[in-house]
Subunit: 143 residues, 2 copies
């Protein structure tokens, strides 16, 4: 007993896991850095990107961001103070407030997304066929 875990997992799997960890770390660093370029925190940038797709009730935002609804109030407050997001009433239910990006917010979101070079450049190293293989492998990994 007391066998070290690494001896129970084959070296190839360990190597792949570490590579995935590196991808995750690099992706996150770049996202935080790019958000910072626009004076946004990571949470603010994620919410802005989310609202680019469609306006959402505060409650739904909490679900998507996987945080408590009380936190959403502050994040939307700060984005709203900068004119990137606005609160709208929901005609269907007067309890609900919809958060929606403004034109300015949409421009900021687009600039931010275009700045994320990691998402594009490393893939440029791979041929079309290799991307197909990578896509299929990742899709199977994610179930």
């Amino acid at each position: 007993m007391a066998t070290p875990r690494t001896s129970r997992v084959d070296p190839l799997t360990v190597e792949v896991v570490e590579l995935i960890g590196t991808v995750v770390a690099r992706y996150h660093e770049e996202y935080e850095r790019e958000a910072g370029q626009h004076a946004l925190t990571g949470s603010q940038a994620r919410l802005l990107a989310l609202l680019t797709l469609e306006p959402l009730p505060m409650r739904q935002i909490a679900v998507r961001l996987k945080c408590e609804p009380s936190n959403v109030t502050g994040i939307v407050d700060r984005l709203e103070a900068r004119g990137l997001v606005e609160r709208r009433p929901d005609p269907q239910d007067r309890r609900v407030k919809l958060a929606a990006v403004t034109d300015e917010g949409r421009r900021t979101a687009r600039k931010l997304r275009d700045g994320l070079s990691f998402a594009r450049e490393p893939l440029a190293e791979l041929s079309h066929e290799e991307r197909v293989v990578l896509r299929d492998l990742l899709a199977r990994m994610l179930g």
Copy 2:
């Protein structure tokens, strides 16, 4: 002009980028959740894992964690208060303090690592040959 970005990037690349984003999100969620299982924050768990490899000066920790040295004081304080980490003097330089995991900290780090099922289970879906392909593709992506 004003061409939407998505029309400048081929759909396959977009798909792969989104898959990577999903991997990143799932990896992070699991890490935070597993850290929480042991009443640790993500930063505390990352530092604990880092110190499992070797004791480090506070200054070096800041570099590895990519944060300011002043933040390290608090994170080490909290881990030390729980007996997972200890500060040791550096015989070479009396200004330096080395942070090192305790036996208890090592046990916690091991349990935490073993709880990270995402890193193993999805790969179980792939054959040995497929893992070789995935490893090579990721390695080329990361340069």
